[in-house]
């Protein structure tokens, strides 16, 4: 059988090394368009509008107004307290739980792990509804208590505690997920090495596991705080009287028709959440190194 040979045209064998992966730059164009058009430009517009005064000129008056207004400061305070307390509670509950889930390997642990991810896909409003369902005026707990004692109690859904419960509910799976991921990455060999060197289990956790979890704890904290600050659905469903910043933003826009005020509040909130996420995340990494 005669062999047919490839007969390419003679080509000069010089030139820079081309990567043969064939990934042309224009592939990123749609993404660029989306990021520029749907993110950068609208956020820029938001920023610009927040600096526009009633007369149309540049002003920082709105920021001054917001930052000195008792009402909005109280909102920020309430939001912050909710975020911080719910985060702390979530961390307290979830760090040991996540360590257990990732390291135990039993069927119970695996089932619980799957169960814990279900709330992740629930929007804030449904979580708020859960709180109403359990602790509302005709919630399960008050009704059950009524059946037992004759009068209702623990109708806390629309109180601060109810809000807090709601915030805790959506923070739990987030913290668990982040910590679990990091525990999975903790070297089993490092733990066993510590054990063979004579460390008690408590000591092992204190000096091997927790330090290696520090960046994850930081990013779980950041995630939890940022989500809490930005939570709208939960507050919208549950809050009667307590104002959180996202509700103020909604009110400014849809009730008072003051888009500039809404823009100012939004920008402030966005700065807080972004700073928290980036800042605390970096802090965690920095300490670890």
């Amino acid at each position: 059988m005669t062999a047919l040979r490839a007969r390419p045209a003679a080509s000069p064998s010089t030139g820079p090394a081309k990567r043969r992966t064939g990934a042309p730059l224009p592939l990123a164009l749609p993404l660029l368009v989306v990021v520029a058009g749907l993110l950068v430009w609208p956020m820029g517009t938001l920023a610009i509008r927040s600096f526009v005064g009633d007369d149309g000129g540049f002003t920082i008056q709105r920021y001054a107004d917001v930052l000195t207004s008792a009402r909005y400061l109280r909102s920020f305070a309430v939001t912050s307290v909710l975020a911080v307390i719910s985060t702390l509670l979530a961390l307290l509950l979830c760090i040991p739980a996540a360590v257990y889930l990732e390291r135990a390997g039993t069927r119970f642990a695996r089932t619980v792990a799957v169960a814990m991810t279900i709330p992740l896909s629930l929007p804030g409003i449904v979580i708020g509804f859960f709180v109403i369902l359990v602790f509302g005026t005709t919630g399960v707990v008050p009704v059950a208590i009524q059946q037992m004692t004759g009068s209702r109690a623990l109708q806390i859904a629309y109180t601060f505690s109810g809000l807090l419960l709601g915030y805790l509910y959506f923070n739990i799976p987030r913290v668990v997920l982040v910590i679990r991921g990091a525990v999975a990455g903790t070297s089993v060999e490092a733990i066993d090495a510590a054990r063979t060197l004579g460390a008690s289990p408590l000591r092992v956790y204190w000096s091997v596991v927790l330090p290696s979890l520090r960046p994850a704890i930081a990013s779980a904290t950041a995630l939890s705080l940022a989500t809490a600050f930005g939570a709208f659905g939960t507050a919208a469903t549950l809050s009667r009287g307590y104002r959180v910043v996202p509700l103020d933003i909604a009110a400014a826009f849809t009730e008072r028709f003051q888009p500039e005020l809404a823009a100012t509040l939004s920008l402030l909130l966005a700065i807080v959440t972004t700073t928290v996420l980036v800042g605390i995340g970096r802090l965690g990494e920095g300490k670890h190194r």
Binding site: L46, Y100, V112, P201, G230, F232
Partner: protein, 285 residues
């Protein structure tokens, strides 16, 4: 030569013996004991509402207690009728958003994973920013920037795309960048496969798990999205979560519970499937 007290019949270890070390922690580890209790408690907190919703939704007259007035499926039937059109609408949106995300995200993830170019890090960072910004701010920005779009319903889609795209990129970029996948494609090339052939016969089959997870994730996120949708929807077509919300504010508990049951029935199996595929990611509250 020392003998092991716990295992007197074991032969003493010599230098060079290989000993397997147990990979799981001892069950009576105190931290794990605490962890187990806390895990049980938090799981209870997370899951308890679900059967409760079901109970309330099947009680004829809830005010007086569990199944007061009898067991009924009427609320559920009623609930389904209320939300079926909303569910259909949300599903259409979700599918549209998924397609758009794939068209934008797949090529972009390919490029980011495979090639270094100036601004790559910046583009990646920017693409994750939507997660850091509260949904309400994203929505407001869109409305102020494109006030005329809202009426057509496109702003809603834009908002969903903006919100779900980072998750799609986050799922696909690491997968497409895997060294072993790149090597498989190189082998396919030497075996004579052209670029389109490689894409179809090697790349897509190899990333199918990630693709599936990304698909479920985007659809679930879109179906449940409220914070952005609340400001961007038009009254003609109400997304499912918005309809749920109005129910929570205005309706009887049984009705609200019934609609929620349907929502859970749609979303929970997807969430479980997603966890099995290994890809649960966090959304907004």
């Amino acid at each position: 030569m020392s003998t092991n007290i716990l295992e007197p019949d074991a032969t003493p270890l010599e230098q060079g013996d290989v000993v397997a070390v147990a990979a799981t922690a001892a069950p009576n580890d105190p931290i794990l004991r605490i962890g187990r209790w806390l895990a049980a408690v938090t799981a209870l907190i997370c899951l308890a509402p679900i059967p409760l919703v079901l109970a309330v939704a099947t009680t004829r007259v809830w005010q007086q207690g569990f199944w007061a007035g009898g067991f009924t499926l009427e609320w559920l039937a009623n609930g389904w009728q209320r939300i079926a059109p909303n569910f259909a609408f949300s599903l259409r949106i979700a599918v549209l958003v998924l397609i758009i995300d794939l068209l934008i995200g797949l090529p972009a993830a390919w490029l980011i994973a495979r090639r270094r170019f100036p601004g790559r890090r910046a583009l990646q960072a920017l693409s994750t920013v939507p997660i850091a910004i509260p949904g309400i701010a994203l929505a407001l920005g869109l409305i102020l920037a494109y006030p005329t779009w809202k009426a057509g319903g496109w702003l809603l889609i834009a908002g969903h795309v903006l919100y779900t795209l980072p998750f799609m990129l986050g799922a696909l970029t690491p997968t497409l960048g895997r060294r072993d996948l790149i090597e498989l494609e190189a082998v396919a090339a030497t075996l004579g496969a052209s670029f389109p052939a490689r894409l179809l016969t090697v790349t897509l089959p190899q990333i199918r798990t990630s693709l599936l997870a990304a698909t479920i994730m985007v659809v679930t996120l879109s179906l449940g999205e409220f914070n952005v949708s609340f400001f961007l929807y038009t009254v003609m077509d109400t997304p499912l979560p918005v309809e749920l919300y109005s129910g929570y504010i205005t309706m009887r508990l049984e009705v609200a519970a019934a609609t929620t049951v349907w929502f859970l029935a749609l979303v929970v199996p997807a969430a479980i499937a997603l966890e099995r595929l290994g890809g649960a990611k966090v959304g907004q509250a």
